[in-house]
Amino acid sequence: MAETVMTGEMQEGGGVKPRASGAQGPWALAFRKLTADRAAMVALAALILIALICIAAPLYASWSHTDPFRSNLDGQVMVDGKLVAALEQSTEGLGLGYTPVGPTWQLGNYFLGADNQGRDVFARLLYAGRNSLLIASGATLFTLIMATIVGASAGFFGGITDAVISRVLDILWAFPIYLLAICLSVVLINQSMKIGPITIDSGSLLLPIFIIGIVYVPYVARPIRGQVLSLRRSEFVLAAIGLGVPSSRILFRDILPNVLPTLIVFIPIMMAIDMLVEAALSFLSIGVQQPDASWGTIIQDGVGLLYTRPWVALSGGIAIALTVLALNVFGDGVRDALDPKAKLRIGAK
């Protein structure tokens, strides 16, 4: 079943003639190689599991009767048969400040304790995962689309187009990515962004998606440009040009399908990178905005409670580390299956 699907895709994209049954196209081969990679399959299963758990966040919230986005300063928690305030008055020193309730380790009842707003950390962790995954996917999609447009036009049209685009990409790449992302975030989070008639509110998830997506465009666009450039000079493309095939057709039927494996290899790698950048921005409170949550904001909440309620910070970080690890392992598998010689740097910082 899977094989026929993959071969079908190849026909659509690459204009390859239908194969005799039994012969395997490159996609089917890659797919078989990927499914035979045990580590990659375990990672994929873990990713799907994490995504499903996070998608089910509203179910958990309604089942445990918590609202993870509303401050719950005078809420009460049942611990060992006794009702305890979600935020306890501190008994040390001057008695100023509050300590949120610690983990109860009971699902549905402040499993990981409360944060400094008295909100259920575990419920927030699930909702945060939705945002983190959404931002990582969105930013990856944005990066890949922009990079393909930019890189392919530079490589295909050459000349001044290429010179200008390559120069701009080089300059952008020389600028530290984290600092660029921080600059953009500080500026854009301060006031809502306006692009023509569209206004993006400063609390919108589109802002981090756009910011993280755009700063990594050079990272993907440069290899794409190089690949398109060498394809442009390859014999089958020269032959197509000689036959008088229009350039748009060459670009879409001959060149882009050959770039597709590289783009696919980039997907898990970019998602892993984007998750880490999102966590960093949210940790600096210039990513996802409160009361909304992401795994980065959970760590930020947790660092304030680090010495009293360490599980807040620990849970956010463990969630990120597990997801990024799974993405990296899966990314390794995809790369080995599709493009073993790809010189990609996992975990670019």
């Binding site: 300059i171 020389a174 600092l179 921080i182 006031q191 760590i299 990024v324």
Partner: protein, 324 residues
């Protein structure tokens, strides 16, 4: 020999000029960042804003303002912050620079040593359990946010188990200058350097392993084997040497960016007032002079490191040693 160096210097100046103009323009293009009304405060009368504008020279045309700022930054070197007039920008960056430099240099030392070790070991024991273990550990290191690792390290060493013998040597968070106490300087930096280095150890170990494995399949390795060169000598003298070229490129890029302020998160977690922290604070206050000085400092380092990498190439790779 002199011409390429001069050309590189020219490129550096052009890049720095471009970045400074870009920062300047972006800043004035942001609607909320209009300096005069920010300096004057939230409910300032129009007269106050006008007075502030006059006193800070913000009534001048933009190119003039840009030139004045560059003159204050590079010639008279007395540029002050927009937000706090007593805050001189250049001493602030100069005070922060050694902190960041110590942090990044220490981390670089750790990640180069361990990265090399892991890469060479994994390649030497390719496809054995040693290789797999090292690669899994590298991936775990890459997958953790460095600032979170720093927080976890603090959790263990600063409160709960601080008095336990294992961590009792850890000094409180913060920075001690080398001239005050070399021992405390080193001790305060060990853990921040380590937490910053972990991700890079993973990256460098993996890159190096892949490069060595690829190099081991080259024809010249077969020739060396045929000549009877020992395996360990082939690995170190032949395969490792060619593999180092791409690592040097990576290193130049990473080191330049980290010194330029990318280590901001580690600096915040370990309460170090480094360049990254200063840049971040300047950005949060939308304080153009601070941002300008910090960004130019950062860009300078990135550009210098790129130039150094090009020169190192010539040392490592004989093919680069061509005239012209």
């Amino acid at each position: 020999m002199l011409l390429p160096v001069l050309k590189r210097l020219g490129d550096m100046v052009v890049a720095m000029f471009g970045i400074s103009v870009l920062v300047f323009l972006i800043f004035f293009a942001i609607p909320g960042a209009e300096p005069a009304s920010r300096i004057a405060g939230r409910n300032a009368s129009p007269e106050t804003v006008a007075a502030v504008r006059l006193s800070f020279g913000l009534d001048q045309p933009l190119p003039v303002q840009y030139l004045i700022m560059m003159k204050k930054l590079f010639i008279t070197q007395d540029l002050t912050s927009f937000v706090n007039r007593g805050y001189k920008v250049i001493p602030a960056v100069m005070n922060a620079a050694p902190i960041t430099l110590s942090l990044v240099a220490g981390a670089a030392l750790i990640w180069i040593v361990f990265g090399l070790l892991i890469g060479v070991l994994a390649a030497a024991f390719k496809n054995t359990w040693i290789d797999r273990l090292l690669m899994v550990m590298s991936l775990i290191g890459i997958s953790m946010p460095a600032f979170w690792l720093g927080a976890v390290i603090n959790l263990f060493t600063q409160s709960r188990w601080h008095d336990y013998w294992l961590f009792s040597w850890v000094p409180p968070l913060g920075y001690k200058p080398f001239v005050e106490s070399p021992k405390l300087w080193a001790l305060t930096l060990v853990l921040p350097c380590f937490s910053l280095a972990v991700g890079y150890i993973g990256i460098y170990g993996r890159v190096l392993r892949a490069n060595i494995v690829e190099a081991m399949q080259e024809d010249y390795i077969r020739t060396a084997r045929a000549k009877g060169v020992s395996e360990s000598r082939i690995l170190i003298r032949h395969a490792l040497r060619t593999s180092l070229i791409s690592v040097v490129t990576l290193f130049g890029l990473d080191f330049g960016q980290l010194v330029g302020g990318v280590a901001v998160l580690t600096e915040i977690v370990f309460a170090l007032q480094g360049v990254g922290k200063i840049t971040f604070d300047g950005l949060l206050n939308l304080d153009l002079p601070v941002i300008m000085a910090a960004v130019l400092y950062s860009a300078l380092f990135v550009v210098i490191c790129n130039a150094l990498v090009d020169m190192l190439y010539i040392l490592i790779d004989p093919r680069e040693r061509t005239d012209g």
